[in-house]
């Protein structure tokens, strides 16, 4: 059969031979591309599974930083309320005293006032949480876009996922990281139990 094809090719006009060569090259190229894409099945579908999980963890991260920040804000507000009350009381006391005692109390007032500035600095420093949340939101958007594009590849090239939905061995480091992230979601050991062990 190959000899018949070769004979046919030898009898072809030169132009046709050139087109034939190009078509053969193109066929070889398509075969290479197709086998490369098939080789992507494993890492491609693994990544496709990992992305939603990674996105969920990023959203959890933003939520955790928000909750932590709210707790710190509540504490600094409570400290500021106490500080304000102490300052008022000490200033009132200062007005009743004179001489050396008034001077001593004045230095106390200065100490208490200095903390007002520090508390406000703590407050505005907590705005880091907002910047973290914005960055996380941008990362989530990027991940969603990558997932969308991967899905297109899967659909267009018919990349198969494992039917049982399990990850492949090629999931490797990514899967290990996700497993570690998932572990704290199970109830963490209480300190007493850790001490007993």
């Amino acid at each position: 059969m190959d000899r018949a094809i070769e004979a046919d090719e030898a009898n072809m006009p030169e132009d046709d031979r050139s087109i034939n060569d190009e078509l053969s090259e193109l066929t070889k190229y398509v075969k290479v591309i197709t086998s490369t894409i098939r080789a992507m099945e494993s890492p491609g579908t693994t990544t496709f599974d990992q992305l939603p999980q990674a996105t969920a963890h990023l959203n959890d991260l933003a939520k955790m930083t928000e909750e932590g920040t709210q707790r710190v804000l509540a504490l600094t507000e409570a400290i500021e309320t106490n500080r304000g009350a102490i300052q008022t009381a000490v200033e009132h006391l200062k007005r009743k005293l004179d001489g050396e005692q008034a001077t001593e109390v004045k230095s106390l007032v200065e100490l208490v006032k200095a903390d007002e500035r520090r508390l406000m600095d703590i407050h505005v420093a907590l705005s880091f949480q907002d910047l973290v949340a914005q960055r996380v939101a941008k990362l989530v958007t990027i991940f969603n876009e990558v997932q969308h594009k991967l899905l297109k590849l899967v659909v267009i090239f018919g990349i198969k996922k494992k039917k049982d939905g399990t990850s492949t061995k090629d999931g490797g480091r990514g899967n290990e990281m996700l497993r570690q992230l998932e572990t704290p979601r199970a109830a963490p050991f209480e300190q007493d139990l850790v001490d007993d062990i």
Binding site: Q70, L73, E77, A125, L126, S127, D130, A133, Q134
Partner: protein, 132 residues
């Protein structure tokens, strides 16, 4: 001189940021404050309250701060309201866009309480120039 008797509208989708901005404003002397979590919510609050100052973030869902600014500046009843943008968007194009849209002043996150107060002082100095 900052007019601390004004009612302030604090707009940000992050509840932590709204809380921080409100505490800074409280330290400056403001006591009457309303919150909104995006531009659309802010417009609703503007209709329902007699707001004298807007402090808004840029990036928000539903309606961004820059869009809120444009709507406020296009409204005859609201166009003269002082509008302070407090945002992490510090690119030159963003600042130019905000200035062209009519922002009163612009604070970049992370900010200090002094920086916020300084910007407000500039806004009110322009709004109420000293008599010569």
């Amino acid at each position: 001189m900052i007019d601390t008797s004004l009612k302030v509208l604090v707009v940000d989708d992050m509840s932590t940021m709204r809380r921080i901005v409100k505490n800074v404003l409280k330290q400056i002397g403001f006591s009457d404050m309303v919150e909104a979590k995006n531009g659309q919510d802010a417009l609703n609050k503007l209709k329902a309250n007699d707001i004298g100052l807007i402090v808004s973030a840029w990036n928000m869902p539903v309606m961004q701060g820059i869009e809120l600014l444009r709507v406020v500046r296009a409204d005859a009843a609201m166009k003269h309201l002082p509008f302070l943008m407090v945002t992490g968007e510090a690119q030159k194009e963003n600042i130019i866009e905000a200035v062209q849209a009519g922002v009163s002043n612009y604070v970049v996150k992370p900010f200090t309480a002094e920086a916020l107060q300084g910007k407000l002082e500039k806004i009110f100095a322009i709004a109420q120039p000293a008599k010569v």
